[in-house]
């Protein structure tokens, strides 16, 4: 366990060593938040009541902040792993006395956490100024739990896509399309509650909703029963995707051993 913490730490420090990079990334969220606010302020004002599907403008913007924090903060694992597979450096990593996947997990965390913290703080500052104060503290721990689950789900999917490099030359298109699915079916650009009902049902049957919508929604509207429902769904998907990942990984290892990379 200690070695993984060390891996986490070094990735963390690595990220902090380049403050300019962190800040530049954070600027991205400021731009997005600002644009979102412009768009939704117009949409909400044209609704007349100031509420849409039970959400206020302020809640909607904080929703987006959390979703964007996760989206911009998560590690680009698919590309990383696929490159390691393609150029063979994965062999080098597999020779080490740690588990490759767990290594990526902790490394990713080390990279992600400072980034997400920075994104949330800077973005939050702007959102507070534009739309009003953040939702009540009671929702934060619930949101944090779902956020962790969401991060892990992203991890599983991305690692799977990265490992697809064992069988496919081109992995980038899968990465793009996966991301767009999370946008559309995860409710990243529009809260799922605004979707037509039939589309909401489809989304809630798929994992993507639990990668974006779940933590963001609970963050702005913490409700115990809703939380439990989202959590159980998320956990279910995690078990499934985690299992698939482990299987794919074992398969990939076997392939590597047979073909010699």
């Amino acid at each position: 366990m200690k070695k993984y913490l060390a891996i986490f730490k070094i990735n963390l420090l690595n990220n902090l060593a380049y403050p300019a990079e962190l800040i530049t990334r954070a600027l991205m969220i400021l731009i997005f938040m600002w644009i979102f606010f412009q768009l939704w302020a117009v949409a909400f004002s044209e609704s007349g009541t100031g509420f849409l599907s039970g959400l206020s403008l302020r809640e909607a913007i904080w929703y987006f902040l959390l979703a964007e924090t996760l989206e911009l903060g998560r590690p680009r694992l698919a590309r990383l792993i696929s490159e390691q597979v393609k150029d063979g450096s994965i062999a080098y990593l597999l020779n080490k006395p740690y588990d490759f996947l767990i290594y990526q997990l902790f490394a990713g965390l080390g990279e992600s956490l400072p980034r997400m913290a920075m994104l949330f703080l800077l973005g939050g500052g702007l959102v507070w100024a534009m739309a009003g104060p953040p939702p009540g503290i009671s929702g934060w721990p619930l949101a944090a739990i779902l956020l962790a689950g969401a991060w892990l789900l992203h991890f599983c999917f991305n690692a799977l896509i990265g490992l697809a490099a064992f069988v496919s030359e081109e992995v980038a298109p899968f990465e793009w399309i996966y991301q767009k699915f999370t946008f559309v079916l995860g409710g990243m650009l529009i809260p799922l509650d605004f979707y037509p009902v039939w589309l909401q049902s489809i989304s809630k049957a798929l994992p993507f909703a639990y990668m974006m919508y779940a933590p963001a929604r609970i963050f702005v509207k913490p409700e115990w029963s809703h939380f439990l429902q989202l959590l159980s769904n998320q956990a279910g998907w995690l078990v499934l995707m985690g299992g698939l990942l482990i299987l794919a990984y074992a398969r990939g290892l076997r392939r590597l051993a047979i073909n010699g990379g």
Binding site: M28, I31, V42, E169, E170, P173, W176, V184, L189, P196
Partner: protein, 261 residues
Amino acid sequence: MMRELRYLVFLWKMNLSAAMEYRAAFLTQSIGMIVNDGIYFITWMIFFDRFPSVRGWTLTDMFIAFGISASAFGLAGMLFGNAFNLGEIIAKGRLDYYLSLPRPTLLHVLASRMVPSGMGDFLYGFISYFASGQLSLDGLGRFLVGILLATTVFIAFLVTIQSLAFWLGTGGTFTALAVNAMITFALYPITIFNQAAKVVLFLVIPAAFMGAVPAGFVQQFTWSTLGLMTLGATGFLSLAILVFHAGLRRYESGSAIQVEV
């Protein structure tokens, strides 16, 4: 002039040959990009289904603006692919190769690479335009003109930002930020922005020239719109050439980046 054009055409043919060496990858990337763009656009369809008009901007406007942006982005990648990594080329001293050859440096550098997914974006733009239902012969003509001018502005913007590498070293993340900002702004309805913001979108990050203005032009021909687009294109192009050559002079004095003695 004709000589340069003939040389450019030859370079483009060579880029295509190089891409065709990996036919499967080229196709996967192109088709993948079309799917990627399509899924992304679904978000807008969901949005306009719920909010048919954003201060006058409708789904039809979106189809066309998105179409222009996608095709311009794709065309830039296909014909002048190095516009996306000019900064890196400058920082790594790879400009020397182009400087030692008897061809105009900037044009030569830019045209020496093709982004394989560019074809996908380019084609998608047309799909998006056709899907708008605004198809007409002269409309298509205006669409093509719009793409040409939008591409010019986009490449000019890229070159200007990337040329900062002459002074700042790499700043790769900064470039990514600028490009992201450009594209994001181009894909949102311009009607949500106030006057001050619109000035920025015309003069600083010229996203207006990449989406909204050409989209309006496609739907209705006016001399003033055409004039505005042409002005934007020539203006930014001149700026780009100026900045690049100023940077080149600095590069030739040796005070640019790393010094290899």
